[in-house]
Symmetry: C2
Subunit: 219 residues, 2 copies
């Protein structure tokens, strides 16, 4: 990585932190360049305008987010061949990862962009849409694998359930930030995990009959 790409990366990182703390509209270029130790001309050498900064920042965030999720759920899949167990393990690993963040989750750029839509051009809004769609597709894939083996105990829309993961995370981030208690985010994820467990597996109270086994046999 050359010197240029290095500075660019630094700008994006500073911008991201600032956007998460005050929003895009209140994030000034002057402030970014002061922290990055460059001049305004230096900034505009790397980015045509603020919207290009937003685009790259968002793309960077989404890519990193997906990288982390890939890693976590790949490891989970390694730990169990059963899709339900793998998904439950993945959710737990994810919750642990979030719980281990020293200052809590810094915030979700996607949510930040969402709440300032009018500030961005169509491309940024579209990137945001695709990012969320990608997350929904991911969790839907996991859940379809689960549903192909276990029958849900209650009729539930798989799409809505897949979307619920992202909703819980975005909502949990807000909950954690507002209540100034980082733990609430992983807690929400674990609560969702209980839901999935309850929906697809045997009840905890006692050993009960059929439904799960029947589906397994069909494999």
């Amino acid at each position: 990585m050359g010197k240029g790409a290095d500075t660019r990366e630094r700008i994006l990182e500073i911008a991201e932190a600032s956007v998460l703390a005050k929003g895009f509209g209140a994030t000034s270029i002057d402030e970014i360049i002061a922290e990055a130790g460059i001049t305004k001309s230096g900034f505009f050498y790397h980015f045509r305008d603020k919207n290009e900064l937003a685009r790259d920042m968002l793309r960077r965030y989404v890519a990193e987010d997906n990288r982390i999720l890939d890693e976590i759920f790949a490891r989970a899949a390694d730990l169990s061949d059963d899709p339900l167990q793998a998904f439950l393990i993945g959710l737990k690993l994810f919750a642990e990862t979030l719980a281990d963040l020293p200052n809590g989750h810094p915030g979700c750029i996607i949510a930040s962009v969402c709440y300032q839509e009018r500030l961005f051009d169509r491309e940024v809004v579209e990137i945001n849409r695709q990012a969320v769609e990608g997350l929904n597709d991911r969790f839907r894939r996991y859940l379809e694998a689960v549903a192909s083996v276990y029958a849900p105990r209650e009729p539930v829309d798989l799409d809505a359930l897949a979307e619920m993961v992202t909703c819980i995370i975005d909502g949990g981030i807000i909950m954690a930030k507002v209540m100034k208690d980082p733990q609430r985010l992983p807690n929400q994820l674990l609560a969702f995990r209980s839901f999935v467990k309850l929906l697809f597996s045997e009840p905890a109270t006692a050993a009960l009959h059929v439904p799960a086994r029947a589906a397994i046999a069909a494999e």
Copy 2:
């Protein structure tokens, strides 16, 4: 309501719409006064500064939000004496109310403030915290009433479950906005409702034994 209070209310309404669309930092006073048909001086007659606008806007939003929830869950309590049924009915009524909003839910000021914390003074941040705490308390009360009659089928933290309602709503709002599909918010609420139903009531598959009745007898 006098003319002054009227103008004030109009300002707050315009500001709220603008904040939800672009965030507080990017909401200009010039824009507000243009839409309200007053001058800048007129604005500053009503509000000392932008932070006072934020305070009043947030308070107004929270009060209205609570009013609506009071109404919905009071009606739900009227429709059933059973706390579980009442809560489930309330969630459904709430989902229907959200589904009936012509242009979808405009956004949550609490979430908006959360994602621009550094822009506000401590008082605004504190109002926000109390608002969320109030919501958590509300849903915790409902759930405690449920849990006093029905034993949960899976060990679950009631606090986390109560917080989940707000998380689902805030997350659902983001999901609906980003995906440009208002229906996703009420869908999330209904998915959560399935969770509660599954957690506390008899399984759908067959009539099963004891746990609920035992708790009822203790009443």
